[in-house]
């Protein structure tokens, strides 16, 4: 645009001449644009729904396969448990099975309260606790940690234009132009030079069609630099329906029941396996609170992670016999690390809908449990304990999220979904032990960062 530039007064006048040039197009053009946009909108929804459906189908197939295999092994184990129960051995005959052994029987013989239990439940000292089995489901989790997300962003250097779209160049940019561009202002006067540069054209014929072949230039359609506002911070609150099992077989004899034989659980098992007197088990509503952070990589997808704190609470009550019953209760606290991939299905300034698929790794940080012995509904004896929780709980979480943006930076969301817990017999008895598939619901607020 300056004297150094190859654009002269002629080009400037041309530019000025056409800068305000306009002409009203036929109204039919807008109708065609509108029609096309409607069709595209339907197609986008269709494709996204198709992707989501395929994804869910794949997930269901995987889940079906997993639980089919899991059920088979679990049922086999259940049979062996019942065989053990049908032919109890005496405590004298019982050999302590190294680390597998839990201290339930020791506790019972050492504590005076155990005598009461023995009276109430004759034969309990002959019971062999359930052995800890191999972690048969571990093999299914190995691949989960291997998934990687590759992120690629394309960044182009944009041309700067004035309000009318003409290119504006800085002095630095002009200095970068090759010397031939800068000095070659008088090309029309130097046809000879042109002949040397492009002999095929000067001869009046196009000998190489490629000289007029064009590639598709589309530098502006892609983003020119990383968009701001790709990060979201969410405060999540989740609660799902609790459960109540009046038939103890639903809790233990269900093939999905799968939990560690910690002292609390072992007593519980003993009650249910040999005396069948668990009247009901009530699982309180699992409660989750946490912070989530989301990173969008494009309009279509993003990833999400965060920190979740979950509390699980269960209480089981034995049948009343001679006005006596025992209540077993536990309270579990988990810290969870979720990681999920988001697929945006609909996105507008106010509303958003997305599909989320991920896994949650939870580490139990504490279990508090109690046993309370009641006579005529009066508490006669109780025992309270608190322990660390070993092992981890892994689950997959598939959810459909709905967002509403109240302002550009603040919004609310609800994310109903389905969580499948991969029971690995390292966790104490809880709501997930009796049923490995649970609905999940997270609601909260989101901040655009």
């Amino acid at each position: 645009m300056t004297g150094k530039n190859e654009h002269t007064g002629f080009e400037k006048r041309m530019k000025e001449t056409f800068s305000d040039f306009s002409m009203h197009p036929d109204p039919a053009v807008w109708s065609r644009v509108e029609k096309n946009l409607n069709r595209r909108k339907k197609l986008v929804v269709f494709y996204r729904a198709a992707i989501a459906a395929s994804f869910l189908l794949l997930l269901s197939a995987g889940g079906w396969w997993f639980f089919n295999n899991y059920r088979t092994q679990s049922e086999q184990q259940l049979v062996s448990k019942h065989e053990t129960a049908q032919s109890p051995v005496t405590s004298e005959e019982y050999e302590v099975p190294d680390e597998v052994y839990n201290d339930l029987i020791k506790e019972q013989t050492e504590k005076s309260s155990a005598e009461a239990f023995e009276k109430k439940m004759p034969g309990s000292s002959e019971i062999k606790p359930v052995k800890k089995d191999e972690k048969i489901t571990d093999m299914f989790f190995d691949d989960l940690s291997k998934s990687q997300i590759a992120v690629q962003q394309h960044i182009d250097k944009p041309l700067i234009t004035d309000e009318s779209g003409y290119i504006i160049r800085t002095e630095d940019e002009l200095s970068e132009l090759p010397v031939s561009d800068v000095i070659d202002d008088q090309l029309p006067d130097r046809a000879d030079t042109i002949e040397i540069d492009v002999p095929a054209i000067v001869q009046g014929q196009i000998t190489d069609p490629k000289q007029l072949e064009y590639l598709s230039p589309d530098p502006d359609i892609t983003e020119t630099k990383e968009k701001s506002g790709n990060w979201q911070l969410a405060m999540a609150y989740g609660m799902i329906q609790g459960g109540n099992a009046s038939d103890f077989t639903k809790v233990f004899n269900n093939s999905d029941a799968y939990f560690t034989n910690d002292p609390f659980s072992s007593k519980f098992i003993m009650e249910s396996y040999h005396h069948s007197d668990i009247e009901n088990t009530t699982h309180s509503h699992p409660l989750t609170v946490g912070i989530m952070i989301n990173r969008s990589f494009s309009e279509i997808w993003g990833i999400e992670s965060g920190l979740l704190f979950t509390r699980l609470k269960s209480v089981s009550k034995t049948e009343i016999v001679n006005n006596e019953f025992v209540e077993y209760g536990n309270e579990l606290y988990y810290i969870g690390l979720p990681f999920s991939v988001r697929l945006n299905m609909l996105h507008s300034r106010r509303f958003g809908m997305y599909l989320s698929q991920g896994a949650v790794l939870e580490k139990g940080v504490r279990i508090r449990y109690h046993m309370q012995y009641y006579v005529s509904e009066v508490l006669k004896d109780s025992e309270h304990k608190s322990n660390m929780v070993e092992g981890v709980q892994i689950s997959s979480l598939t959810a459909l999220g709905f967002e509403y943006h109240i302002t550009e930076t603040f919004g609310i969301y609800a994310q109903p979904g389905l969580q499948i817990f991969f029971m690995n017999k390292t966790q104490p008895f809880n709501i997930r032990s009796s049923n490995a598939i649970w609905p999940s619901m997270h609601v909260g607020v989101k901040f655009q960062l």
């Binding site: 654009h7 009203h24 644009v33 234009t161 004035d162 779209g165 492009v198 064009y214 589309d218 300034r349």
Partner: protein
């Protein structure tokens, strides 16, 4: 309604806002498309495809620059893309070589109305017209045109020079 508000409406998929956006910019963009097209029908095709791209990519628009400039560049790119798809550029005819012609007389161009000048530009073979538009009116350098159209810089320069001289000759004849 202010432009920013219209753009926000467009981003929400609001058809009314999209129509307002279109009505605000379509006449000027039609002016751009006409320079790249043989006739009005072709220009309207460019315009239609260009606006569809604009609406589907509006989320990528960054508000630092003027919206008109952003839309204009999409229109130009769309026109080039369609010309290439239809192989129009590949089989563009050559124009007679212009040798030893003197300086272009700017006055010859100034005596014309914009519409008349547009007619002469449209009469250029499509390859020459494209280079002429990109260089003289959009402000691209020959190096950028060469990169954009996958031709050599020399080709861009020679086509532009010859288009300019060809136009002058034609306009001089027209003025007589």
């Amino acid at each position: 309604m202010e432009m920013n508000e219209i753009i926000r409406g467009c981003l929400d998929g609001n058809r009314k806002a999209q129509k307002q956006f279109y009505e605000h910019l379509a006449p000027r963009m039609m002016g751009v498309c006409l320079r790249y097209a043989d006739d009005i029908e072709m220009a309207e095709d460019f315009l239609q495809e260009g606006f569809i791209k604009v609406f589907t990519n509006l989320r990528n628009y960054r508000s630092e620059g003027a919206i008109e400039g952003w839309v204009r560049r999409i229109m130009v790119n769309t026109a080039l893309e369609i010309l290439r798809k239809n192989d129009v550029l590949k089989y563009s005819v050559d124009i007679e070589a212009a040798k030893a012609v003197g300086d272009v007389n700017p006055d010859a161009f100034q005596r014309l109305t914009t519409a008349e000048l547009l007619k002469h530009i449209q009469a250029l073979p499509v390859g020459f017209r494209t280079v002429f538009n990109l260089f003289a009116i959009e402000g691209y350098t020959h190096r950028e045109i060469a990169e954009q159209l996958n031709i050599s810089e020399g080709t861009s320069k020679s086509q532009y020079a010859r288009a300019k001289v060809w136009l002058q000759k034609r306009i001089e004849e027209f003025n007589l």
